[in-house]
Each structure stands twice: as C-alpha cells, then as structure tokens.
C-alpha cells in the first residue's frame, strides 16, 4: 500500500527539462513540450487531441468486439438453425461459443495495442521535435 501519488498540483511549475538542456524560450517560438508542461491553451489542444485519438481507437476496437461477440447471443437466440447443424456430432452453436471467440479477443487486443503504441509514438515525436 502506498501513500498515494503526491498531489499533481504544481507539477507545471517544476522545470520539465533536465537543467543542462533547457532552451531559453524565445518569445513566439515555443515547443509543444513547453505548451504542455505549462498548461497553456495550445498545450490543452495537444492533450485533448491525444486523448481523443486514443478514445476513438478504443471505441473502434469496442465496436469490432461488439460486432463479433456482442451480437452472438442474440444471433444464436434468433437463429435456431445453429443448433440443428452438427459439426463432428456437436451442435454448431456450441462450437461457435467454445472455440473461435477466445482467439478473436486476442487478435482484437493485439491489433489495438499496436495501434495505441503508434499513437503514443506519434505524440512523442510531436513533443520531441
């Protein structure tokens, strides 16, 4: 158990750069890093952009999950034909539930994680350029 993270107030005051590397900010030329660290209006736009991209990606993955898995119970309910067709002696509906869904989750998760890392990478390049 930890005492909880320290208050995040005042983080913007802390010097975000290591001492030796700090560039002297010239008026009008400010890096995205400074904008973010100082919480300016531009920083707000950068952060909201990152957050929105991540949320869209997650919702897209959720829609894929819903389309594959979420509709399955109602589809099996409305189409009893799944129970009459036999595969290796067992009803097809049973096979669909037991076997292909679990690998499908892994595939959705894997693709999502790759894309989410790419989003982070793009943001990193934006800040570090």
């Amino acid at each position: 158990m930890s005492p909880g993270p320290p208050s995040r107030r005042g983080r913007g005051d802390a010097n975000p750069n290591p001492p030796g590397r700090r560039l002297i900010p010239r008026r009008g030329v400010r890096s995205p890093r400074d904008e973010l660290a100082e919480g300016t209006g531009h920083g707000h736009v950068y952060l909201r952009g990152l957050q929105r991209t991540h949320l869209m990606l997650s919702l897209l993955a959720l829609v894929a999950f819903g389309a594959i898995f979420g509709v399955l119970p109602i589809a099996l309910y409305l189409l009893p034909a799944f129970d009459r067709v036999r595969l290796l002696g067992a009803p097809l509906g049973l096979w669909i539930v037991v076997v292909p869904m679990l690998p499908a989750f892994v595939v959705i998760g894997w693709i999502y994680a790759r894309r989410a890392d790419a989003v982070d990478e793009a943001f990193r390049e934006l800040v570090e350029r």
Binding site: M1, S2, P3, G4, P5, P6, R8, R9, R11, G12, P16, N17, P18, R33, L36, A37, G39, G43, H44, L47, L50, Q51, H54, S58, A61, F69, G70, P73, I74, L76, Y77, P80, D83, R86, A90, P91, G93, L94, I96, V97, V98, V99, M101, L102, P103, F105, V106, I108, G109, W110, Y112, A113, A116, D117, D120, E121, F123, R124, V127, E128
Partner: protein, 581 residues
C-alpha cells in the same frame, strides 16, 4: 485418496514455502517497483492470470454447465473479455497515473478524502463477496479429498490463508503467482485431454445433444448421502434402498435417506436434488434460449458484469503496477488474454463429460464437485485416481492464490484506508501499521468464512457473478469516467457508486430472500448488472454535470493519465520511486 491428499499437500506447502522464501528478497510495497525492472510482460501476464483464475473458473463453470448447459460457457468468455475492456480503456492510463490501489486513484483523481473512504468500503465488500465462493470451493474440495465435513474445509483453508497472509507470505510475489498459473493450466488441461482420449471423445451423444434427461449408465450407480436429500424424479423411475425398490411417477418428490446406499438401476432416470436443475439434452446444448439462466437478457447481464467488472476487482489492479510503463501494461494485458484463452478451453469438457458419466451429482446437488470427482468416478483405477489428485491440486492452487490476493487487498485497505480514518490518527510507525495489517488479515477472514457456511447451496458461479456485478456497478464507471471525462466530480463519483451498489446488492439479497428466481424479470435479481451498471453511469454523469465543485487541476490530471512516459512531462521514474518508497 492418499494420492490426492499428497498432491494437495505438495501444492499448499510449495505455495506457502515459495511465498515466504520469496519474501526474503523483497519486503515492502516497493518490491513491486523493484521487480518491475526485471519482470518481463510474459511473467507479469502469467502472474495476473494466476491470481485471477479462481474457484469460479476451476470448479464453477463446469458445475454450472452440468445444470444449465452451454449457456454457462458465456461465463468463461466474459471472464476473458473483461481483460479486453481493461486493455482498451484502463490499463495504460492507470499505470501512467501511478496509483497502486482503487482508493488511491479515487482520492488522487478527485481530491476527496471522503471518496477514498467510500472506495475503501466498496473494496471491502467486493473482496469479501469474492472470498465466499473461494471458501465454498475449498469446503467441497477437502470433502472430496479426505471426506471431511463441508465446514472443515472452509475453516482449514480460511485459516491457512489468513495466517499466511498475516505472516507476510504471498505479497506481490510475481513468480509464485506465475507458477500457480501453469499449475492450474496443467491441472485442468491434462486430465481433460486424457479423459477425452480414454473415452474416445464425448460419449453418449444422445444424452448430451438428444432429448433425454440425465440417466444412469449401463451398470447403474450407488450413492451414499451425507444428509437426507429432497429430490424430484423428472420422469417416472425408481430407486432402491437395501434391495427394496421404490417406484416414483413423473414429477414425484422423494426424500432420499442419508448414510445408506441408494441405488439407481441401469439406464434409470436420475432424481434431481431440490435447487438443482437438469435439462433435456437438446435444451442443455443450446448456448442461448430455453428458460431461466439461458434467457438472452440474463446472458447479456452476465456479459456486462464480467466485461466491465474485471477492471474493478481490487486484487487484479494492484498487479498492473508491476509493469514498468503504460506500453508494457498494454503488452502484458494482451498476453493475459492469450493465456486465459488457453485455460478457458477446458472447463467445458468437464461439464459435458460429467453430465453423462457422473449423473449422481444431480442427485446430491453438488455439481460444483464435477471437476474433482469426475476422473476417479468415471475411470475407476489408478488412472482416474491420479487425475483426480491432479485436479484437486489445481483447485487448491486456485483457492490459495485468489484468496491470498483478495485478503492482501482486504487487509491492506482496512489497515491503510479505513482504520486510520476511524481512529482519526495517522499510522504512527511502520511496526504498528504492520500490526494493523496482520490483525486485519486475521479478522477479515471471519465474515466471508461464516457467509460461506450459509451459502452452501448457492452455486459458485452465481456467487462470483455477484462480485463481478458489484465491481461493474461501482468502480467501472469511476474508472471509465475518471480517465476519459474531465467533468467528473467527487460528489458525482460518490453518488454513482452508491447508487450502483444499492441497486446491485438489494437485487441480490432480494433474490436470496425470495428463494429460487426461475425466469422472466425476476431472474435478473440473480445477475442485476444490466440494470445496475447503467444506473451507476447515469447517476455519475447527472450529478457531476450539476455539481459546481469541479476538479480544478484537471489539465495536469489528464496529462498524468494520458501522456506517454519519458517526455519529461510527468514525474520521472526516480522521483516516483522516491515518493512511493
């Protein structure tokens, strides 16, 4: 069952020994941080899966499958899919934020000490609810291994886990939990595969997928009951006691005597214990439909509870802190999905074989036993005995790892969040804090232990479904809105969690009080998530939008949640380590 006793003893001693020995290397909560430098995502994923796979996965799914058939299998899909929800919305931001526990997150994100106390109270309720089925499984398993009464198993495992946790074992020991995962996979997969080979696939397809109800095999069977049992003959049939045969008409109730052999003739219909369900094969094999628990609305309610509840389980979240950064948290979660997918292929085999080969469990009402008793009952001789020893050892690994993880969360929350607040003192010294933790670990086992004695007749799967429903209707909305919605306020979060918990718990207890809810809207009392989760979300959003007291530093909060590491925008690793040590 000497072999089984030996296997269970080996797993128990091995777990406790490794936990205590591993502790020599790492004493404090920061062992998680230290471990994070060396633990790879694969080890982490195995550890998370090891702590996650509980009595519900190991025993409960197969037991419920015997009763309600293929619709029980949604549970294994939901348990796995929960990690997809965790991956998509919670894993990386929460790791970046750096909160160890749910109360930590609640207080830090919304600046409300009161909310921390509320979250701590909910952690206690959820962890307590989740401990009950673990102890029930322990009671059943010890009964199978040494024939002890139910309460003895509950008491023994509760005592072992409480003493071990209070002495400091099993705390954050990644490698022990990772080994536990592989023990469980071995213990569920190998007997299932060997049995399938031994019987040449699924036997008696007619009984599984045809129109027939569970019936005795070609030689009949004999059962000695521990206590008198009310049972119903779904079709006309007979049983005999001391060679004296009794014929019963269809739908007739009988009371089967205890301590005497009750014999069901060859191919005879099996009487079904009251509170247990037996379905004709074609209904049994249908994943959705039929009556009661197979109804679509209940299936969806269960899926909502498991999909959204996993992220709110207190013992799951703390493990994510072992990941060094958000990127690793994502990679770990994908691996967890893969590892759980291996495990969850197998419980279905036991339920299907059990329907045909151990129909006496319908008569005793102990279908939760099927994973343990199936091998040696269906395959008399050395082979079956060894396989039963293997499944018993796996079941014990499941109880020990999950209940230890839960008890650590319970005791930690009580000693760290609740006790100081009640006494209005800050924890004075590390030694008194450790004493509080130990006392809490011993005390926290009492209520779940007593509850486990009361709910003996309730299926393990139902009990675990409640814990998931509670987590999904309280912590899930707080995480999802807290991470993705900047307008969430402390008052809104508190109101939503209270509303969700109230709806869920009152439905569960109303269902318990009314007895067996069988179908229609009443069945939702058994799994209320599809109602309680939207209530929690809507309350949280509604109250927050009207609340004037917004969180003022929400910009830096969102930066801490969403900005990638290593940009100098967040607390550096060194600083974080210093703050947490």
């Amino acid at each position: 069952m000497i072999v089984a006793l030996f296997a269970v003893g080996a797993v128990t001693l091995g777990t406790l020994g490794l936990g205590t020995w591993g502790l020599r290397f790492a004493r404090t909560t920061s062992d998680l941080l230290v471990a994070s430098r060396v633990v790879t995502p694969w080890w982490n994923a195995a550890a998370i899966s090891g702590e996650y796979l509980s009595a519900a996965s190991f025993l409960g799914i197969a037991g419920l499958e015997m009763q309600i058939g293929a619709s029980a299998l949604w549970q294994s899909l939901g348990f796995t899919a929960g990690y997809l929800a965790l991956l998509l919305f919670v894993a990386a931001p929460l790791r970046r934020y750096g909160s160890y526990t749910i109360p930590d997150f609640a207080e830090a994100r919304l600046h409300s000490p009161g909310l921390r106390l509320l979250a701590a109270a909910i952690v206690l309720v959820i962890a307590g609810f989740y401990l009950v089925p673990q102890l029930k499984g322990a009671g059943l398993a010890l009964n199978v291994v040494v024939g002890s009464p139910y309460w003895v198993g509950v008491a023994v495992v509760a005592a072992i886990v409480a003493i071990n946790v209070s002495l400091g074992g099993m705390r954050g020991i990644t490698y022990v939990q990772a080994f536990q995962f592989w023990i469980k996979v071995f213990a569920i997969a190998v007997p299932a595969i060997v049995l399938l080979i031994h019987f040449g696939g699924l036997p008696e397809r007619a009984a599984l997928f045809g129109r027939s109800l569970p019936h005795a095999g070609s030689t009949g069977f004999t059962v000695k009951l521990g206590s008198p049992q009310r049972a119903q003959f779904p079709e006309a049939g007979s049983f005999s006691v001391h060679g004296h045969s009794v014929h019963v008409k269809a739908g007739g109730w009988v009371t089967l005597p205890a301590h005497t052999p009750v014999r069901i003739p060859p191919r005879g219909i099996v009487p079904v214990a009251s509170g247990t369900q037996a379905l004709p094969g074609d209904v049994w094999a249908r994943p959705v439909g039929g009556t009661g628990r197979g109804a679509p609305v209940l299936v969806y309610s269960l899926l909502v509870a498991t999909f959204l509840g996993t992220m709110g389980l207190p013992h799951v979240l703390v493990r994510f802190y072992t990941n060094p950064d958000g990127h690793a948290a994502r990679r770990t979660t994908v691996r967890v999905l893969g590892l759980l997918s291996i495990f969850y292929l197998f419980p279905a085999v036991y339920g299907a074989l059990g329907r045909v080969l151990t129909p006496q469990l319908y008569m005793t009402g102990q279908t939760d036993d099927v994973v343990l008793t199936l091998p040696h009952t269906a395959w008399p001789g050395a082979g079956g005995t060894i396989l039963t020893a293997v499944t018993c050892a796996g079941a014990f690994a499941a109880f020990l790892s999950t209940s230890s993880g839960l008890l650590v969360s319970l005791a930690g929350t009580f000693s760290h969040d609740v006790w100081p607040r009640l006494r209005h003192t800050t924890p004075s010294s590390p030694s008194s804090r450790r004493l509080h933790f130990r006392l809490a670990a011993l005390g926290a086992m009492v209520i779940p232990g007593l509850l486990a004695l009361v709910v003996r007749r309730v299926d393990i799967s139902i009990l675990v479904g409640w814990a998931f429903a509670l987590a999904a209707s309280s912590f899930c909305p707080m995480f999802l809105l807290g991470i993705w919605w900047s307008r969430l306020t402390a008052r809104g979060a508190a109101a939503g969690m209270v509303a969700g918990m109230l709806v869920a718990t009152s439905a569960i207890f109303a269902g318990l009080a009314m007895g067996e809810p069988t179908g229609g809207a009443l069945a939702l009392l058994e799994q209320p998530a599809i109602v309680s989760v939207p209530v929690a979300f809507l309350t949280m959003i509604g109250v927050s939008s009207r609340d004037p007291r917004v969180v003022t530093d929400v910009e830096s909060q969102m930066l801490a949640l969403h900005a990638p590491e290593g940009l100098g925008l967040r607390l550096g690793d060194d600083e974080a380590e210093g703050a947490l040590a």
